[in-house]
Each structure stands twice: as C-alpha cells, then as structure tokens.
Symmetry: D2
Subunit: 287 residues, 4 copies
C-alpha cells in the first residue's frame, strides 16, 4: 500500500461521442498522469461511467482548483454526476456489530495491517460483548441497545454518533437489526451490509435455514448497499461455497462465515477505493 | 473407465444401531469385496442412507440371488428402500433438446468417449434442426413438434417413444418446453433438467434477463429432478460463474452455456452412477 | 452476437502523459464512437497497453484510411506497436487434434452456434478418427500422420496447409505432439495450446499422473501461446477443479476434460476478440 | 457446535474382504451408535482407510476399555494403524507467528467463537509485535527471537515450550522461519504450515514474486504437514483466487491473505476433527 498520493475521479453522464477525449484531454493538458482508468457504456440506458486515478504530484494545482476547473471545462458541459477523492484523506468507517465476531475480527485485522486505507472512528453495537476487544485496539466503542420499545431512540443515537464522528460509511458487519427506513434513506450508497445468502435467494431472516430446506448445493453471501427495502439494495459483491447433504444448518452457519467476511471485505474495498458506481438498483464495479 | 464389473447398492432406512454391521456383515459373509462405500445419517429426520460398490466376481452367486438373499436377510428386517444395479447393464438415456446445441454436443462427446456409461437409444426434439447431427452418430432422432394445440398428443408421443426404447432416464438438455404434470409424475426421479439459474433464484422463463435486472455478480445453473412443480424439484448439482457490469444479457446467455453443460453432465453422472438418493425434496449425493 | 460492425484497436507504447487523450482525441475528432475501452500501465516496465472498440459506422472513412491517419497522427509519435481489426472479417482458425474428442466437439458446437466469430477452414489431425465427424460439419479434414521418422515432413505439411488456407491462428485442441521449434517460431502469438495442468506445476507429459503422485487437492488447465520452450509460453487463461483422495488418475483425466475445454474456449475467445496483448512472457488480457 | 460427546476412530490397514463388517460389527455388538463413517480403498497400494464417529453415551464402557477391546478384537487381527479420540478432550494448538496478523486474528476469532474445538495454550513468535493482542485474549505469549546465530537455541526453546504446554499440534500461521529438520522429524503429522502458493508451483521464498514473474492467472495457498523437506510435505488443503495483469505483487500479497487464512483454517479443522490420514506423502481427507 506504499503508493504515491493520487486522486480518484469517478463520474457518469449521458453517453455521446468524445467523452474520454474530453476527460483525458483536460487531464493531459495540465500534465496529469493517469495511473489507472476504466470506462463502461451501459448500452441499454445510454449512460456512461468512468473511474480514473491521477498522480497528485503531476498536476500543477491542488484538488480544490482541479474541482473548479474540471466542473466548468468538463463536468457541466457533459452533464456529469461526479466526485474526486484524495488518497491522502482516509475514509472514516463506522462499524456496527451484534454478537458474531468473525467480520469484526476480520475488519480490525485488515485495519491493523493497513490493508484498507481507513480510519475507524468507532464501533457501535447493540450488545456490550466486544467492548474490550475494540477498545484494546484504541477504537471507541458505543453500546446502543435496541429493544422493541426504544427503536426510534436507538437509531437516533446511532445517527448522532455517525454524524459526530463524521463517518463516511457505515458497515453492518453482521449487525442483526433492521435499520429504519429513515436512516437508510439518509445515507444512500453509504451503508453497506453483508447478507448471508446468495441474493435474491433467501431474503430476510435465517437464510441458512432456508437454504437447508431447499437443499441447495452451494451457499453464498452478498455485500450490498442498504436501501429502504430489506435485502433489495444494489449488489456490490457475491460469492458462494460448496456444501453437501452431510452439512447441518450449524455447519452451514459455520462455513458461511468464511464467505461472509471475505465478501464483505472485498465489497468494502471496492467501495472505499471508489470502484463502485451505483446505477439505478445495480452497480458498476471497476475492479 | 476400464473398471472391473461391480454392483452398486443404494438404500435408505430408519436409522438405528447396527445398520452398517448388518449390511457389511451380509456382504462379507459371502466373500463380497466392497470397493467403495458411503453412509449418511440425516439427524433431523432419523433416516439413514448408503451406497456401496461391490466387486461382482467376489460374490459366489449372481445378482438375482443376491437380491433375494439381501431382501430377506437385510432389507426387510431394516425396512429398507433399496436397489442394486449391475455395471454391465448400461442405463438407457433419452435426450430431449430444442434449438440450442451446447448440451447435446457435450453429451454426445461424452457418450462417444465412453465417459458416461450409457446407451442413447434416441434423441427427441420439438425441432428438426439436429436430425443430421444426431443421426450421423447412429442415434435415432424423433421430431415431435409441440404447439399450443397438440400438447397432449405430443407428450403422449414422447412417452410412447420413451417406453418403446425402454428408457431409464430422460434428460432435458435445454428442452425449452414445460412437461405436463402427468408425464412428470409418471417418472419420479427419472427426468433430469438443467435450469439456467442458481435456483431458487430466477425460477421460470428468461432467468438471465432476471439476473441482469437484479444486478447479481454471479450467474448459475441447476441440475434437478423434474417434479410437477416447475423448477421446484430436488436439486442434484449447481454451480456459478462470475460476471460483471460489462456483461450484457447476450454475454450472460453465452457464458452461461458453459456451466449449464458442465453442471448437467456432473449431475447426470451422479445419477447414472447411482450416487443420488432422493429424500423428500432434497438429495443425498455420494460423490 | 448480433452486434453492429466495429473495429478493435489494440496497442502498446512507452508510458507518458497524454496517451489516452491523444488516442481518444483522434477518434473523437473524426466522430468515432468508442463502444468499449480498456487501459493498463505496467508500472515496472513503464509500458502502456490499450484496447478500444470503435463503431465502424461512426467513422467518416474506411479502415485503410483510419490506419493511415492513425499511423501518422498517433502511432508513430507515440512509438506504438498496434493493430486494428474489423469485426466483419472473421478470423480463420485451424484446429489440430489427436484422439481425444472433448475439445473438438466443444469448439465445433461453439462454431455451430456462432458463439465464436470464426471460420474453421480445416481440421488437421495425426489420426484419421475424426474425419467423418469433421466432414459432416462441412469442414475439410487433413490426416497428417506423425511418426518418429517423418516429423520434418509432417510439420512442413501442417505449415503448408495452414498457409494454404490463410490461417490466422492455430489451436492445439489436445494435439498430443510437440511442435518443432521452427514452426513455433514462425507464428508467435498465433499458436494456442491447452495444457492439462495448472502451469507452472506439472510441465510436460502425463501431468495428471504427476498431480496424482504429489497429492494435490485441485487440478487445473492452462491455455497459453506456444513458444519454442515446451509449456513455457505466455499464459492466457487458467482454471482449476477440486479433486480428492478418492479420485484415481482415470477420474482426474475424465474430470480434467471439463476444465480443459472450458479454459481453452475462454482463452481462445479472448484471443479471437483481440483481448490479449503479449508482453514479454506474460499477457495483458482485457476481459 | 453443541454436539453430544462422541469418539472419533481413524484407522488404516491392508485391504481385504470384511473390514467394514468387522469394525462395524464390533461397534454394533456393544450397542455403539455410528454418527458418521467414511471409508476409502487405495487401489494402487491396497491400503484401506476409515474414519468413524461413535456416540459416546451409546457404549457401555469408557474409552480406555474400548481401546483395549478394539485392539484385540479388531485392530491387531487386521494389522491396523489406528487411534481414537474423545470429543470432550480439546486438542491443544500452539500457534507460531511472525509479523503478519491475518492468520492470527483469524484463528483467534474462530477460537473465540468456539468454531474450532481447541485450546490455545500459548502463542510463540520470533517478534514481540502481537504480545498485547494475544495476552488480551488471556493466552500466554512467548517471544523467541531467531537470529542466524541462535537458531539451535531458539528452536530448542520452541520445542521446550511445546512440550511444557503439552501441545498436540503446532501451526505455523505465516511463521516466516524454516524449522530445523530435527524439529520437523520430532512431530510427524503434528506441524501444520500454510504456504502462500499453489504447491508444487512456487516452492520456497517469495512465491507471489515468482507467480508475478510467470504471469499466472490464479494464485493459491496450500496447507500441508511440515516434513524435513521444505514445502514438500503431505498436502491437506489448497485453494486459489483469480488475479489479472492489473494486479501488482503488492496486490497479490494482499489478496493472497484471504485464501491463506481460509485454507489454513479449513486444513486445520480437518486435522483437528481427525479427518486427515497421512498415506506416504499424500493425505486422505474425509470431509
């Protein structure tokens, strides 16, 4: 991860002749060095998507000026939705967990190893179980219990904490509560969940039980953005593992953890590296 | 495949102490050499499953006598459902196709290479397209058109041909018609379909279109026994391949063929080698 | 595959600021519509790679003029290695086989289904076994026996046929002879082999036997360009499947076929769609 | 993991008629309930392998008496190598690490979740980096530095600690030192390593660099028993992930961690559940 500082530009706009020429031309004109670039035309909707990494030191001005110039020279004429991020500014990831530790341990190991370029300003849980583990890492821990009676208050508290720590992204690392739709709607494309099935199979509760009942030969996990509709948000990443008739539901739960944490970490990395562009209820993922 | 002749015994019965001892004891008593054996206890339903391969030449009697002795000494006392097959008797596989060739070519290549230990007494199709190809292989071809008006007649004809050629198993190798429930019910555990999705996702028509719409990151195929309920039968085998945002529906159709034929061939092999035991709407597959 | 006519431009050049701007600028200037484009900077060697698909009808001139203009305006100033192909001109694929049919059936099924955009002007084999099958498809078949004594003559004949039919690419579809180094050297990046192991493991003869001996838990297949050094050429595509202790060498041979044909078809598709750029002994594959 | 107490019997012996009958007969005679059983005949070497789980409460005597009776009635007459373990006795796993945390975090998460039925009496490292993390879990940590000069002393100390804590199994969780052959020889089948390549490709140091150089399209990890020959021991488990030309060596190192920890955990589980029988330089793994 010892990469030189760079900016990541992501954008989408109506497709037309000359988009790449205009974007790349603008960058070249200022001496900008493109490290990596990806483009995608969605032929059914006529929308164009792109992601570029530009070496920061190759540009003669700072990001604020790049933004201003790019906006007028390129983005507005092309009617773009766009953003540009600086690799020197770490994203702030707020982790929500319940009682299962596999995703939490996995994320903290990656954070510890600087494998993900993030700050974790805090962990929030509806249980107090992982306080010691989290605090040992020097990360603040918030216990926000959720009961049938205090849902509104609890989620107001979650939102307050997220705002307080200026969170960029909320990750539900096997957080076993359904977020209220107001909270989901407040942060579109910023709340990431790991669902323990290969969606759209086995939406909702106890997917491994459902999988066992149906007798499938592979079980899966799905990393997706949270939207107001349960388990229906844009899918970022999925994977599966093979099981067979000898595996009990408990075995499936146990083996499933391995893809849950891997798929979550992969999806999260794509998100944090600005590789995911949401398009309706689908995603473009520039790997 | 140059294996010595063997018998394959498959059985299930209520679980209790001493099942293996009784079965293996009976075989050992007669000098029977067990080449391969697999056992499975379903703890939720208390049912016990097994599959054994016994070297034919190690037994002092023929299969008919084995059957008789086994029935009285083992099967009846244990209340078994069971069957035993002879590797020297090839299963007779009737192939049904429509207009896509990938599964047909794949099956005929395996048949040609003696990779599957089968006879193909005929191919049936609702189109005439593959007559030449099939007949070139020396396999009879039956064109049985299916129109909205002649369904009953057409399927009566399919059934008549299947009975005529003494088919053991019917395989729907991308046969794009829904079999009438009477036909499905007539041959439980003997009609095998390949569905071009990872069931239970995307049941019914145009699963790749459904997959495209939902934005999944993997597409799959499912080999299953046909039952009266469409795409709901016991699953034998499944697999998936990775796609991404750049893949059109046409790409998915194209890439999907590779898992369709592989999953079908794998599921079919398990079936033909008596590796699949149906249990309610699920399967035990002794690989 | 009902795509509108397009040109595929592939190129590599020393990395510098402004490459994309120059290439995309040239295309935009002439109203060219970029359907798909991919770029890669190899940071260790400082070489830049790209692949673009341009809608043919969007350009105001034909390919010959595009070539001329692009050469002077872009390719020469950037010191590019490049080529541009027309989707309307099908590549001519000469297939070499021995006695195993799985890759041959697979390729002809894909050709039949127009899944690969190719012509197969002939099949060459050192055995006569598949003459009938190939000729039934209307494809000429050449039996060129190879014996220890006639190697030079036999390969001169293979080369003569390949030249005669103006072959673009030679595919060794489980052709069990080692091509002489002169022939390999004559067609760099144009002879494609499928090796039945996960290279660099198990180079040379009988890789499944080697895999069995070593006790690996996965077996693989590798699609690569043929060079003068046996099994050392640039790798295009690889894949593996799981085996276990119960699988004999014969089982591995049998199951291995499924990845051999799939990996070959995938690698071949990448090659035929101009998705593969060779870089030293490695490949850039723009999927 | 809330399973009732059971015994796991593993054995191998020369193949002959009646082995299963004898083993299962012995168990049935004493009312033993077989929960799970697997058998394998290695036809090339004529050796027979088995693994059985027997419900502890179904037997009328304790394990010591089972051992005694089984030895005389079955094991000695069949010339068996065998052992039987009690699920109530947790295996004691000593973890060796260096500076990379991913396997350590992964193992401790599994231990914490009681996903692996083990005790970890201590962690040993040639660095002091993870002392705090390990001790926070209540697990003793031993810093045993290894320098070119003190190798003999250091490994004597490792062995002393392992003996002191009565370790059953030593796991090299990305321990970046080569164990001396004396230590390897002292614990055959009890030292487990994770190698960061798909063996036999890329033996020895810096396998990701080797993989990068060769241009492979998949990278792998191998869990194996340590023997005196570096990276040559019996393979327990392997897996791979896809990479492409855009992945740097650093990317491969980063992505590789995900299969390293998963493959290690899987191999370790097989070992700890007595699913692995070593056979020459290969393994039978009853999954």
């Amino acid at each position: 991860m010892h990469r030189e500082r760079f900016y990541t530009l992501t954008a989408s706009c109506p497709d037309q002749v000359g988009i790449i020429a205009r974007v790349a031309g603008f960058i070249a004109e200022h001496g900008g060095w493109i490290l990596e670039s990806s483009y995608h035309a969605d032929s059914l909707t006529g929308r164009y998507f792109m992601r570029l990494e530009i070496k920061a030191s190759s540009l003669p001005f700072l990001l604020a000026e790049f933004r201003e110039r790019f906006r007028t020279a390129v983005a507005e004429p092309l009617a773009m939705s766009w953003q540009i991020n600086d690799s020197a500014v770490k994203k702030r990831l707020v982790v929500l967990v319940s009682k299962q530790e596999h995703c939490l341990y996995d994320l903290l190991a990656r954070w510890q190893a600087k494998e993900l370029d993030i700050e974790i300003p805090c962990v929030i849980s509806n249980h107090d179980a992982f306080r010691g583990f989290v605090e040992w890492h020097g990360i603040p821990f918030h216990h926000v219990p959720v009961t049938p009676d205090n849902k509104a208050g609890a989620y107001a508290e979650v939102q307050r904490i997220f705002e307080d720590v200026r969170g960029d992204c909320m990750v539900l690392a096997r957080y076993m509560q359904v977020l209220p739709s107001g909270l989901c709607a407040a942060y579109p494309g910023r709340i990431i969940n790991i669902h323990h099935s290969f969606l759209p199979s086995f939406v909702g509760a106890k997917p491994y039980h459902q999988a066992y009942e149906r007798g499938v030969k592979l079980i899966g996990a799905t990393c997706h953005y949270v939207t107001e509709e349960l388990d229906q948000g844009p899918i970022i990443e999925q994977d599966v593992i093979r099981i067979d008739h000898s595996d009990s539901i408990e075995d499936m739960v146990r083996y499933g953890k391995d893809i849950e944490k891997t798929v979550l970490a992969r999806g999260l990395r794509y998100h944090l590296e600005d590789r995911v562009l949401v398009h309706g209820n689908k995603t473009v993922v520039f790997r």
